[in-house]
Amino acid sequence: MDVAISTLLSPIILFFVLGMGAALMRSQMSVPEAFSKGLAIYLMMAIGLKGGIEMSKNPLTGEVALVLLGAVVLSFSIPLIAFTFLSLTTKLDRTNAAATAAHYGSISIVTFVAASEAVQLSGLVSSGHLVAAAALMETPAIITALFLAHKGAGSDAQVAGSESGELIREVLLNASVVVLVGALAIGWIAGDEGTQKVQPFFTDMFQGVLCLFLLDMGLNAGRGLRQGWRQLEPATIGFGIYMPLVSAMIAAALCLVLGMNAGDTALLMTLAASASYIAVPAAMRLALPKATPSIYLTLSLGVTFPFNVTLGIPIYIAIAKLVAGEG
């Protein structure tokens, strides 16, 4: 509980709350897009490097491979569950339900980072390959969602002007995937020693930059919420809260089977519970342009993200401790 409170009162979360509050009170302040995109690239480089450095310290075992495989399976399958819930409980059409489901199968790297901090604060340990899991979970959900959207929709003709391969490039080579996977590999190759000189920038600055980024995310989430909530029925908003819990429980079951420790369990639960708000929206604009961005974004950034970083993470950590028997 103490940990939960000190997580909630950490500067990172407080800056998010500040941004969200300012936006809800209709402050006109904003962080320039070019600047926050630059910060996002920094954050992904830092996360990737950190994961790679940690992975370089241990050999890649069969267990690690199993965890990564499990992560991919989660990303493929969570959209099926999400889609089912959305179809049964909301009025979203097939396209919007599929597009929204893709977001929940994919991940939010900032939520992952917030969980890593909280895990560490709780005195648990976690391993670098969870960063690899995060990178691997970005994409599969999109494939499931496209399958769901097109099933039964007949074969739609190609969008005018589209080019073969453009969607695959967007999905497999978007900035998150390139930077996360690339930095992971670089951290792995260069190791702790080889990255010594870049660590002041990527390690010492990390928490501070995150504060600035979360201020911006709060502004974004708040503004999105203020404008978008009218478009969401209560059942859809509810989905934004219970779906992360459902995904987290599925991940917890998987971790139990794989015998993972509490720290890694909490992180994989968080990855499952988190919803994308950068990579998947971009892919959806290309692949399912008729889906409505304000629905999936308001839900993912305005409802699920704030829920996860405030209440969700402490819950996932508590459950992870029980599941791993480290309570």
Partner: protein, 101 residues
């Protein structure tokens, strides 16, 4: 001065390369893309700086060409706008070096 057509396509950012390919295939000799920073449509306001996903970002594509080519492009652009958010207008303009278009 010679008469040409100017096509102005206000379209979502993620779709601009598709629009560009259409213009190229219709034989337009060039186009220029400019960023929008805010807008309003369908009852919603958006602003680039507070949309971390960039999914409501719009751009404007401007292309000058001969009437024939513009009309050839318009057919496909109509199809594009069946899928993507956007507005297209054309208007006559005078140009200096007609052989360029």
């Amino acid at each position: 001065m010679h008469e040409r057509l100017r096509i102005e396509l206000i379209i979502e950012r993620m779709a601009y390369k598709r629009a560009g390919r259409i213009l190229e295939e219709a034989g337009m000799t060039g186009y220029t893309v400019i960023p929008a920073l805010a807008g309003f449509g369908n009852g919603n306001r958006w602003s680039r700086d507070t949309d971390i996903s960039s999914s409501s970002d719009m751009v404007i594509i401007i292309s000058i060409g001969s009437e024939d080519r513009v009309h050839e492009a318009l057919d496909e652009i109509r199809r594009l706008l069946g899928a993507h958010i956007g507005v297209v207008t054309t208007s006559p303009v005078s140009v200096l070096r007609p052989d360029r278009f």
